[in-house]
């Protein structure tokens, strides 16, 4: 299934400095659902660069396996809270945007 991943606000720095991914995601082999929860682990396993992983990059993305506070997940330009959060089942062509809150001014 084709899924688009985009970053806004800086998270791309731990994902090989690439702001947009177009990935082909297969259903997990253990039969678990192809949802956002699975996408998060996939991103750490496959897309995060080794250097970032070695230097605490996971902690900038996840906290206790959940998305870390200060990162908004947007599913096709809509807040994931309106879409079922972690349990949202990915659909062909979805655009998942990870927006880190900025504080600078």
């Amino acid at each position: 299934m084709k899924i688009n991943i985009e970053f806004s606000g800086g998270l791309e720095t731990v994902f090989q400095n690439i702001r947009k991914y177009s990935i082909d995601l297969e259903a997990p082999s253990d039969g678990s659902p192809l949802n956002i929860k699975y996408l998060l682990t996939y991103m750490v396993d496959v897309l995060m660069d080794a250097d970032s992983k070695a230097n605490g990059g996971v902690g900038l993305f996840l906290l206790d396996g959940l998305i870390r506070p200060g990162v908004l997940i947007l599913i096709n330009d809509t807040d994931w809270e309106l879409e079922g959060e972690e349990e949202y089942l990915l659909q062909e062509g979805d655009i998942i945007l990870f927006a880190s809150t900025l504080h600078g001014g």
Binding site: S8, G10, G70, S100, G105
Partner: protein, 291 residues
């Protein structure tokens, strides 16, 4: 300004003529601007452009809060502060500039930072707050206080090449805490000083704050001037993305919000007494990591 037929002075008619012509402002809007009291917290990269356009538009009273002084590294983006004013309080530098721009406005300087004790006293003298600051703990304090006082909050932020904009505590919309109940880990937070910033990127967000402030003050979201009324969301800028701008519709008020929910647990006295410790809540800023 004696009679109702001529509610503005001749100088004001000339000065504001171009915006009086715009139906969404007009005389009714101009009078609302003239009577409005706006507090701008932070006279830096966001504050400078917001202040220039709010003063230009004739907002009656503008309060400016900033404890900081002008540094040469500010000047590339904070254009109210010229190189010749390095070392001056930003608030004084800004007001020196703004008075020459528009002396019809009353400018009120606060040469210190917003904190638990002074926030309510200062905020309660204004109708609208602009958050132009750059630390999570200040952003939570500003949101909590303005929410408890029922004041709309036009908030923006920027870092490197990206920017964000939202209006909190407005109409039926959420507060900052509804969106971000838990602060980000301290090591994930970068200021413009640490992470860098392109001047016009933060600039454009400050100008957008002025647009939104004018719309809120003149009632554009309530009188049909904005088609569809107020829809809560975030406006995102990625200056190196294509397209550069994105609007994201966001969740509304949260029932369990500690500030604006059904059973709020954070109250004014808890903030003023210091029981609510924003530094502790947001964590001490340890060594800063990559974003």
């Amino acid at each position: 300004k004696e009679s109702n037929d001529f509610p503005l002075s001749l100088e004001e008619y000339q000065r504001y003529g171009r915006q009086l012509l715009v139906p969404q402002v007009g005389m009714k809007g101009q009078l609302k601007l003239n009577n409005a009291k706006v507090l701008v917290v932070g006279a830096g990269g966001l504050g400078c452009p917001s202040l220039a356009y709010l003063a230009g538009a004739g907002v009656g009273t503008i309060g400016i809060v900033d404890h900081d002084t002008v540094d040469i590294s500010n000047v590339h983006r904070q254009f109210l502060h010229s190189s010749v004013r390095v070392g001056m309080y930003k608030v004084d530098s800004a007001i020196e500039y703004l008075k020459e721009l528009n002396s019809n406005v009353t400018y009120i300087p606060y040469r210190f930072g917003i904190n638990n004790e002074n926030a309510f006293k200062i905020f309660s003298q204004y109708d609208l707050v602009l958050d132009c600051t750059d630390l999570p703990k200040t952003r939570y304090l500003i949101s909590d206080v303005s929410s408890l006082l029922g004041m709309p909050l036009v908030s923006a932020s920027a870092l490197k090449t990206d920017g964000q904009l939202a209006i909190y505590n407005y109409l039926e919309g959420p507060c900052y805490r509804c969106l971000f109940p838990v602060p980000p880990p301290a090591n994930s937070v970068l200021s413009c000083g640490d992470g860098g910033i392109i001047g016009p990127v933060v600039g454009v967000m400050g100008v957008m704050q002025a647009i939104e402030a004018i719309k809120v003050i003149t009632g554009a979201y309530e009188d049909g001037s904005v088609e569809g009324g107020f829809i809560f969301g975030l406006t995102l800028l990625g200056a190196y993305c294509s397209p550069q701008w994105k609007f994201i519709r966001m969740r509304g008020k949260k029932n369990n919000c500690k500030i604006c929910g059904e059973a709020p647990v954070i109250k004014r006295d808890m903030i003023e007494s210091g029981q609510m410790d924003y530094s502790e809540f947001c964590g001490s800023a340890g060594p800063v990591k990559t974003l």
